[in-house]
């Protein structure tokens, strides 16, 4: 029963080999989907290209549906999966800063790495920028600490915080995603084409 490595079904040494393989697949998919182009990524905010939204939501839907099927069929133990912790203000403020950074820089860390791999100089600058950002955070850690460590609600899922059955939520989420896809196509037809 999965997850395989935390359950010691695969020797720990394989962990690092698997990391590279997963990374290669991740990079390949991101690049092939066009995520190495900042202008394509930024399109989601201006309505001329919704690739980010489509890839992102399709991936989220496929993975969440898949995980819950696997959990149901007993292939994976949901309680052993890592759930991103919920620090209310950390997520909101951090997310807001990332949002500004996304629009300004046109990348997020994963996609910037893809762009670095195919030789985009702006992406290299962006990665250096990220490192400076991490450096600033670390140097002023005591200043950020109240947000970083405060308002902690645990590693909770929406099932607990919204008190809703995960299956129903997934159904609503799927419908929401598909409506978003349809709307994005409608918006794109209205917006002036941008060639990049």
């Amino acid at each position: 029963m999965g997850p395989l490595i935390p359950n010691d079904l695969i020797p720990f040494e394989w962990n690092l080999v698997i990391a590279i393989i997963i990374g290669i697949a991740f990079g390949y998919i991101l690049e092939s989907s066009g995520f190495s182009s900042s202008r394509k990524l930024a399109g989601v905010f201006y309505g001329y290209d919704f690739a980010v939204l489509k890839v992102f939501f399709t991936a989220a839907l496929v993975s969440v549906i898949g995980i819950f099927y696997m959990d149901y069929l007993g292939y994976v133990d949901f309680s052993m999966l890592y759930v991103h912790p919920f620090y209310l203000w950390g997520a909101l403020i951090g997310g807001a800063i990332m949002g500004v950074g996304f629009v300004a820089g046109g990348f997020c860390p994963g996609t910037s790495l893809c762009a670095v791999a195919i030789g985009k100089i702006d992406a290299m600058i962006y990665v250096i920028g990220i490192m400076i950002g991490v450096f600033i955070f670390s140097e002023f850690y005591s200043f950020f600490e109240p947000i970083y460590d405060g308002y902690f609600y645990g590693n909770i899922t929406l099932t607990e915080s919204l008190n809703i059955s995960p299956y129903w939520f997934i159904l609503f989420f799927t419908i929401f995603g598909i409506i978003a896809f349809a709307l994005s196509d409608m918006v794109r037809k209205k917006v002036k084409k941008v060639f990049y």
Binding site: P6, F68, M80, L81, Y82, W168, I175, F181
Partner: protein
Amino acid sequence: MINRNLVKALRYRYVLLAVGLILLAGGLVLLPKQEKHKGITSAELLSNAISPERYMSTDEIAHKIVNQDPSILLIDVRDSLNYQKYSLPNALNIPLPKLLDDNSMTFLNQDQYEVVFFSNDNFDADKAWIISNRLGFKNIHVLKGGLNSWFKTIINPTMPEENMPANAFEQYRFRKAASMYFGVVYPESVIQQSTEQKKVPKKVITVKKKKKSTPEGGC
């Protein structure tokens, strides 16, 4: 013609995909809910139950207590009244009804100690063993024969007959020495030893919470 039909069908490909996705998600809602039981399967339980490692003999336990083996954790599953009257040295008292309390879990759900359940006989300890095993706890044992056997073999060992094999005498010698350790006074040793009972110092048992190898965060 085929081409045109194909084109026609392809026009609806996104709609079809969307419907497929919704059906998949809806399937989760419609699936019959199943009871998930935690812990090990019945087959594993059976194999643990017939494993000889399940029991620890009184001699083994006596040996470990005398040597102050830090790896064992004795758990008395009788009620606290009996526990106060007599129990093994350093034993903890977790009466059977309280087995599943959070407090008890700290001692049972860990992998530092060999947990040994005991009661007056095998029965209550066996029940505790089955429940703990079912929950998937590791290193759980039962004191074979319980305290009754403890008294019979360690505290009050029977002298072997003349015609018994040599290891029976060795065992007897060990048991006798052990019983002296546990405070039994023999007439022949009174001369050298004063009658003061040897108090085994209570050892403080600290159990670290079991660290599950939960995966850490992504970014």
